[in-house]
């Protein structure tokens, strides 16, 4: 080997490469329940490529571990328990914060599970994990224990195409997650008659009739080692059927899932009972509670201090953005009516931002270019918006109560001038839809009330307690440019000798453009 080649060889970065091919991927829950649909056991279900650097310059290569996994079309069927377990698995294996080991050395780690991926005092591991699949399908259902009918009940089906998930952690210990989905389709699959007419709740819009034009869903989440988190969810050109009870039913599936494992303190050991590999608390009254009850001097102050202590110390942000969405409201969700009116809200852009920092929380909304179209399902007769493109923005900030300061709520809304016209058919359709949506909401509220009365859970108690918390100081301002409504006649039976006035508002307003 010549000298130059030898030097080149010394400075060439070499990598170990590993390729894993898994056939017949079979995923089961802890109780042997089948979670995925197993295809032909001879075909490849998952291919994983792993690459990491070697040699003297290896520490300079960041991220160190590069993992790319490609799934074959994957179809999973998850109950609430399975989904909760799946989430635990992802959170506490891939994203477990104790892996950073950046906490105070004096802090006791007795109550945390350490997986030993990192070594204290050494630079943290850097990695990039990418998982991708051409087709993902998730079926969610309620098992016999959770279904009101005591039978297994389907809830929804989510189909994603060309999904790609990336988890990146560099030397700054900030984990960055990104999920991109080319197309997402959410359908409710319950057999409820109340909303049986509309299975699709979220689907991509194809702008050109007959031409499929899938659009993008993007989710990002960035987390600092101290727990500060920023999430964003973006939907592009989504069609959303706003069937209120159906969305409520879908949302309830993810409500009140256990969000973190229950951690027992050493003082509680006497009140624990072990059955198999699980621990159960015999009494919910802890030693802390006993202390609180015994010091009956100033219960309110103690409660406030406890509430303050419960405030999150990390900051969190969430941005939900929509580009050109179409939100469709229908009068008859059962789909049995001969004529089913609908109202479509179309927006150019929407941003909803929520942030929490210490005892401050704020929500902001910006909606730009909103239009409303009235018509009928399957026969969208109106091609013209009922309102001139309309924009609105607002904000609501809340400071949680502290020992020295009451709870303060501040909000404001700014609206441009709303210009609308109303004709016979549009008004009739709108009234019909409003009436139908009102009925959907009322029936859903009644059902929720019945369920909450039947099952008074601890969550319901907490919510009641929250509602009792009174806002001491509040200010809410609304400023609107105005409202202009032109009542029009579309019966084509115009009043005699008055045709000349038809174009007058049109000409006048066009001059203003």
């Amino acid at each position: 080997m010549k000298g130059a080649d030898k030097r080149l060889s010394e400075w060439t970065q070499w990598f170990h490469n590993c390729r894993l091919e898994l056939c017949g991927l079979d995923i089961q829950s802890w109780d042997d329940g089948q979670l995925n649909e197993v295809h032909n056991s001879q075909s490849q279900s998952l291919v994983v490529n792993i690459r990491w650097p070697v040699g003297p310059t290896a520490p300079l290569v960041k991220p160190k571990w590069n993992v790319v996994g490609t799934f074959d079309p994957l179809s999973m069927r998850l109950s609430r328990k399975d989904f909760s377990l799946f989430r635990f698995f992802v959170n506490y294996n891939l994203l477990e914060p104790s892996r950073f080991l950046s906490r105070d050395a004096n802090e006791k780690l007795d109550n945390l599970v350490l997986f030993g991926y990192e070594k204290q005092g050494l630079p943290p591991t850097t990695y990039s994990v990418t998982l991708q699949s051409e087709s993902l399908e998730f079926h969610f259902y309620l098992d016999e224990e959770e279904s009101s009918s005591r039978k297994s009940e389907e809830v929804m089906c989510v189909k994603c195409t060309n999904a790609r998930y990336t988890l990146l952690k560099n030397i700054d210990c900030i984990s960055r997650q990104t999920a991109n989905v080319e197309s997402i389709h959410l359908a409710q699959t319950s057999d409820r008659e109340e909303w049986s007419g509309f299975q699709d709740l979220l689907l991509p819009i194809s702008l050109v009739p007959g031409q499929s034009r899938p659009r993008l869903l993007q989710f990002t989440s960035t987390t600092r080692p101290n727990g500060d988190n920023v999430k964003s969810l973006h939907l592009d050109q989504a069609g959303i059927y706003m069937i209120v009870p159906a969305w409520q039913h879908v949302g309830d599936f993810f409500k009140y899932l256990p969000t973190s494992p229950e951690i027992f303190a050493a003082e509680e050991m006497a009140s624990l009972m072990q059955v198999g590999d699980r621990f159960y608390r015999m009494s919910k009254t802890t030693t802390c509670d006993v202390q609180v009850q015994s010091t009956s001097g100033d219960a309110a102050q103690v409660a406030t201090q406890a509430q303050e202590a419960a405030y999150p110390t990390e900051s969190r942000q969430f941005l939900f953005s929509l580009t050109s969405p179409r939100i469709i409201l229908v009068s008859d969700a059962t789909g049995t009516a001969d004529v089913n009116s609908c109202v479509t809200l179309h927006m150019a852009n929407l941003h909803y931002h929520q942030s929490t920092h210490l005892n401050q929380s704020a929500q902001s909304v910006i909606c730009h270019g909103m239009e409303i179209f009235a018509g009928q399902i399957g026969n969208p007769s109106s091609h013209s918006s009922l309102i001139c493109p309309f924009s609105v923005c607002g904000s609501l900030s809340k400071s949680l109560p502290l020992k020295t300061r009451p709870q303060v709520l501040n909000g404001w809304i700014w609206m441009e001038e709303l210009q609308a016209h109303a004709a016979y058919t549009d008004m009739v359709s709108s009234i019909d839809v409003l009436n139908g949506v009102n009925k959907q909401i009322m029936s859903n509220a009644q059902e929720s009330k019945v369920n909450s009365d039947i099952q008074p859970t601890s969550d319901n108690k907490d919510r009641k307690n929250d509602a009792l918390g009174q806002i001491i100081e509040a200010k809410f301002d609304v400023l609107c440019g105005g409202f202009s409504l032109v009542v029009t006649d579309d019966s084509h039976r115009h009043f005699a000798n008055a045709q000349v006035s038809i174009l007058s508002p049109f000409i006048f307003t066009c001059d203003q453009i």
Binding site: R224, V230, S315, Q317, L319, S321, A348, H351, H353, S355, S364, I366, H368, G369, E371, S384, S385, C388, S391, C393, S395, W412, W414, Q419, H421, A423, Y424, T425, M427, V428, N435, K439, I472, E473, A474, K475, F476, D477, V478, L479, C480, G481, G482, F483, L485, V486, V487, T488, D489, D490, H494, F495, A498, Q499, V500, S501, I502, L503, S504, I513
Partner: protein, 267 residues
Amino acid sequence: MRSNIAYSRFFLLYLLLQALIEFSLVGLRCSRVVTQSHDVKTFVTLDRLELTDLLQSEDSPFRIMVSSSNTASANGGFFSSFVGVVPALSWESHKMLVSDWGFQLSSSMETLREAIGYACAFDKFADHSSVQACDFVFRNLSHGNGISYIELSLSHLTAQWNPSTVIAFQRFLGRMKKFTTNILTTSAADKNVEIASSNSSKAPESADVIFSVKADIQSVSIYLSKYAPYCQSQVSRQQHSPLITIFSFGFPQQTKNINKDVFWIPK
């Protein structure tokens, strides 16, 4: 900036429709304050209100059916002066911006928040000169002990009876009634059921409200007119003066208020 395409779509329908009436409210400002002592203050101001008969020709003196315009509001009112100091609501200038960590409000949104806070400040509603440019002012102060003060100010209101428009509007409502009969019947039936259920579930509550109402009206004019509505000839305003002025009063020069205080103390 609103797109011209969207504007065009909005006005396309005018080519096929006949405009009957335009109802417009200009410059609506509302603020609600809850204090530590459980007092609730509500303020609402409106720059201008107008009801226009679009079947009348542009130069017809009967085109404006109801108007609340006075000198101050006709010069633009409060809202037009406010719009001059805030940026137009465009997406690029108001959307959330990416910051060093997460997202932050744009400077336009911050400006807007400060401007609205200034425009809806408590002293702005108490300031006479600030609300003078508004045709309609509503103030409500509810104390935590149940005593409420309501104050209503209306500067000028002019309305005129125009038989042709009323007939046209009745025809419009009559046609619409045919379409909405089923809807209204169904909703009324549902409402009756809800009312019945709510009546059965709610116990009668004793009213314990003490309130005071103060109305301050500068002038109200109602005219009864007789006029050939679709006459194409140019006529002067003097030739078509109102047939009868059925109700008109006002106090433009001096401060005279129509005050009515109502006190009701339950047993």
